[in-house]
């Protein structure tokens, strides 16, 4: 059904999208928590920064990544000299680009859920002997689960669809950075490539539908009979 090249592209997309979303999740949650719960100077600024990848065209984001993480860039130079690591032309670079593009969506979704938590339940947990930390893990986080799941779905879908920042930052290298959207782009550049485009586009749709179904299943599993509002 799929050629082995197509399988490779799908596998790479899954790897890039999966790693991007899972690695971003804790950071995004921390940011969502900060923005939802804390008042500090520079909060609006942080909020703005988080939204940036949404506003700035992806190619510009990719270009900024190149400027920062490229061999001449400050971060790139530092990574290279301290860890001998370079993200250039690597799938890890593609994951970084995808993660940054997915970040605003993930933060917003989780922030909405965190803001909807009944904080008195956290107080109740504290009187029952839970430290702030324990109450976070057993009460706040589970109650924010709808947002976390929404963040996973949105983030994964966005990562799977990421194109502009990726190709600008790490170019379009088969087997390393050529994810589904980049393969689709290549096909679109060729007159008469529509059949290939359709085929690959349907593939990405199938991937994200699978992610959706999985997340709905998780929600349903988590919700069995419970409801958020009690007395």
């Amino acid at each position: 059904m799929l050629s082995s090249e197509e399988w490779g592209i799908v596998a790479l997309s899954l790897k890039v999208g999966g790693v991007a979303v899972l690695a971003t999740l804790p950071i995004a949650f921390a940011l969502a928590w900060l923005l939802a719960r804390k008042r500090f100077p520079g909060r609006m600024l942080l909020d703005g920064l988080v939204h940036l990848p949404l506003v700035v065209p992806p190619v510009v984001t990719g270009w900024l990544l190149l400027v920062a993480f490229g061999p001449f860039g400050p971060v790139g130079r530092w990574l290279e000299s301290w860890f001998g690591v370079s993200l250039m032309f690597r799938w890890t670079g593609a994951a970084l680009a995808a993660a940054i593009m997915a970040l605003p969506l993930m933060v917003r979704a989780m922030r909405l859920s965190i803001e909807a938590i009944d904080r008195r339940l956290e107080g109740a947990a504290r009187t029952l002997g839970a430290s702030a930390w324990h109450s976070f893990w057993t009460i706040s986080l589970p109650l924010a689960l709808p947002g976390v799941l929404a963040a996973l779905v949105l983030g994964f879908a966005r990562s799977i669809g990421e194109f502009g920042a990726t190709i600008t930052f790490v170019s379009n290298i088969p087997g390393e950075t050529r994810t589904l959207p980049l393969a689709i782009y290549s096909a679109l550049q060729v007159p008469g490539g529509e059949a290939m485009v359709t085929r690959l586009a349907l593939l990405s749709v199938a991937l994200s539908l699978a992610a959706l179904v999985a997340s709905e299943w998780l929600v349903r599993r988590g919700h069995r009979g419970q409801d958020r509002h009690v007395l």
Partner: protein, 206 residues
Amino acid sequence: MSFDIDVERRLGDRSIGVRFTAGAGLTALFGPSGAGKTSILNMVAGLLKPDRGHIRIGDRTLFGDGIDLPPEARRIGYVFQDGRLFPHRRVRANLLYGHHLADPADRWMALDEAVDFLGIGHLLDRWPHGLSGGEAQRVAIGRALLRAPQCLLMDEPLSSLDAARREDIMTVIERIRDTLKLPILYVSHDRAEVDRLATQLIALDG
């Protein structure tokens, strides 16, 4: 002397304050709606910070003199006026939440015993959502007792229970008061309840 409380706190445009010391046993807080009873319990529990004053229970200072223990360090069992059950945990997990966190050596009540006199054995596998008002209230009482507290705060714990169940629970409260000798701060509007349980009565006016 079990309670030595002297607190003050502004809420909106009014000021809530109380000052009393009480001996061992059950101290009832009495007063009209809005007098500040719940706010005082919240201050003792560490959920509301007094603007000034001190809170001492037995020989422990919970608040004042530069001390402000976090709620989890106060070793208090609090039955809230509203149930405040955890909606994402079944009744059993609600009951055991604090129990598991307590030092086994400090525990003085087992799940079975609590379930028994509260009559909630058939509810253990249910979600809080769908419990009746009185059922939720009983689970909330159980959860506070099972947390192995060294002091109890009870905010109208029996308000929506029928007479028979109320009797069962009062018997247990009496036992806790007399045998375990835990200091109890108790809010109720029911004269009969207070007359029977209270060692001491603190009146607040609104």
